[in-house]
Amino acid sequence: MRRWRRVLAPAAAGLVLLVGWEVGVHLADLPAFVLPPPSQVARTAVEVAPLIVDDVLTTLTEAGLGLLVGAVVGLLLAVLIAAFPWVSDTVYPLVTLTQTVPTVVLAPLLILWAGFGLLPKVLLVALTAFFPVLVAAVTAMAAVDAEHAEMVAGLGGTRRHQFWLVQLPASVPGALGGLRVAATYAIGAAVVAEYLAGQSGLGVFVQRSRKGYEVDQILVAVVLVAVLTGLLFLLVDGLARLATPWQRSSHPSRPGRTPA
C-alpha cells in the first residue's frame, strides 16, 4: 500500500495542478502567447514531434560528449592532484577559484573562440561537468582509508603501489558521484550555449519559438529538457552502478521500505 501511495500521491498532486492550470487559463481567458493551456501544449508537442527530433539529437550529442570530456579531464586532473603534492598546491586553488565564474557567463567567449558549431557547446558542458567530478574524486582520494594504504606498505608496497592499488580505485565511486551531479547540469548547459548561436538544438528551437511568441512550443522544449535530464541522470546512474559492482548489494534492505 505504502509503495502505491508513493506513486499515486505525487501523480494526483500533479494532475490537480494541471487541471487547475487548464481551468485557470480558460476562466481568465489568457491569450495563448501569454500562457497556453496544457491541452494545447500537449497538442503542439504531437505536432512538432517530427520536427524536433534533430534538435533533441543535437542537444543530446553536445551534452553526452561534454559530459564525457568533462569526466575524463576531471578524473585525470584529480589523479594528478592526488599523485603530486605540488600539482595539488599550485593547480587546485586556481581551479577552485575559476569556479567563481559561472560557466554560462563564459558561453559568449567560447562561441567567439570556437565558432558556431558543436565545439563551443561541448566545451561549455565539459567545463560545467568537470568540476563536480574533480572535487568528488579528489575528496575520495584524500579520504582513503589509512588502513588500506598501510596494508599495502606492510606488504612491502611503495607509494606507487599504494596509488594504483588503493587511491585510484578508491576515487572511482567518488568520481561517479560527481558525474551524477554533473549529468543534471549537462542538458541545461548545452541549451544555454545554443541560445547564443547555433543551427540546431533545443536552445535554437526555443529561440525560434520565442521570436514567434509560440509559448506552447517553448513549454514543450522545457518539458523535453526536464525529461532528457532525467533520462541522462538515470543512464549515468546505471553506468555508475555497473562500474561499482561491489556497492550493489551492500545495502541489502532498508527498514520501512519493504512492500507491505
Binding site: H148, M151, G154, L155, L165, W246
Partner: protein, 256 residues
C-alpha cells in the same frame, strides 16, 4: 619524524629478524608538547628461522608499535632509535583485515603477490591452492563484504602468506572475532605450520592462551613504556607451568 634505524644486509644464516635496543617515543600532545610518550624502551628481539614467537602484553604496551617497526612502517609522528637487523623481507597483517572493498576475494588475496612482483599465473595457481587450505574454496569471486568475519581474517592471512616473505608479522589476527570463532581459528592456525619452510612468525596478542597454543616462544612486554620482562620458550606439552609464569609476568601484583 626522525628515524635512525640502520638496516644491514641480510645475513645468510642466523636470525630471521633482530632488533636491539629499540626505543620508540611519541611527542607529547597539546600545545606545549610536554610529556612525550615512550612507547617502547630498549627492546631486544631476536627471531630465528622456523620460529613462531608470540608477543603478549597489556593493551597500550606498544606491541602493535613493535610489529609496525618490524614491518618497516614508521609510526606517524614517532621517533625510532635502536639497531635493527631486519634479516629478511616481512609481510605484515593489520589488526583489521585491510581487505579492499572493490576487489573480489581472489584479487584481494593477490595484492601481496602483485606487490612482490610475482608472476601472475604462478601467484594465481598458488592462491587457488591456498583458498582450499584456508577453507575459502568456492568464495574466490565473493566481495569482501559478503564474507563472514572469520573468513575475512583468513583471507587477509592468505594475502599475507601468498608472496612467500620469510617473516610473517601478525597483529592480533583474530582479535576482532567472537570468542567461539576465535577459538576455532586458533585451532586451525595451530595446524597450519606457518613457521615452516624457512619462515618465521611474530604474532602479537593479548591472549595468553592464544600465545601458548600457537607459539614456540612467548615474549612478555610490560606496561608502558613497553620493555621485555620475560622471554619464555613454550614446552610442547605441559603448558600449565608456562601459563602461570606468563600470567605472573603480565600482572606482577595480581598473583594469578
Amino acid at each position: 619524524m626522525t628515524s635512525s634505524l640502520s638496516t644491514e644486509a641480510p645475513p645468510t644464516s642466523g636470525p630471521a629478524l633482530e632488533v636491539a635496543g629499540l626505543t620508540v617515543t611519541f611527542p607529547g600532545t597539546g600545545r606545549r608538547a610536554v610529556g612525550e610518550v615512550v612507547a617502547l624502551q630498549d627492546v631486544d628481539l631476536r627471531v630465528r628461522v622456523g620460529e613462531f614467537v608470540a608477543v603478549v602484553g597489556p593493551s597500550g604496551c606498544g606491541k602493535s608499535t613493535l610489529l609496525r617497526v618490524l614491518a618497516g612502517l614508521t609510526p606517524t609522528g614517532g621517533s625510532v632509535s635502536g639497531r635493527a637487523v631486519v634479516g629478511a623481507a616481512t609481510a605484515w597483517m593489520p589488526q583489521r583485515d585491510g581487505l579492499l572493498p572493490w576487489r573480489r576475494a581472489l584479487p584481494n588475496a593477490l595484492v601481496g603477490a602483485r606487490i612482490a612482483g610475482l608472476d601472475r599465473a604462478v601467484a594465481d595457481a598458488r592462491a587457488r591452492a591456498l583458498f582450499d587450505e584456508f577453507g575459502l574454496a568456492g568464495f574466490e569471486r565473493a566481495w569482501p563484504h559478503e564474507l563472514s568475519g572469520g573468513m575475512r581474517q583468513r583471507l587477509a592471512l592468505l594475502r599475507t602468506c601468498l608472496p612467500g616473505r620469510p617473516v610473517l608479522l601478525l597483529d592480533e589476527p583474530f582479535g576482532a572475532l567472537d570468542a567461539i570463532t576465535r577459538r576455532r581459528m586458533n585451532a586451525w592456525l595451530a595446524g597450519l605450520d606457518l613457521a615452516g619452510h624457512g619462515r618465521a612468525v611474530v604474532l602479537v596478542t593479548h591472549d595468553v592462551d592464544e600465545a601458548l597454543l600457537l607459539a614456540d616462544r612467548v615474549v612478555v612486554l610490560s606496561d608502558r613504556p613497553g620493555r621485555v620482562v620475560l622471554d619464555l620458550p613454550v614446552p610442547r606439552d605441559a603448558t600449565d607451568g608456562a601459563r602461570r609464569t606468563l600470567l605472573t609476568a603480565l600482572d606482577p601484583r595480581g598473583g594469578a
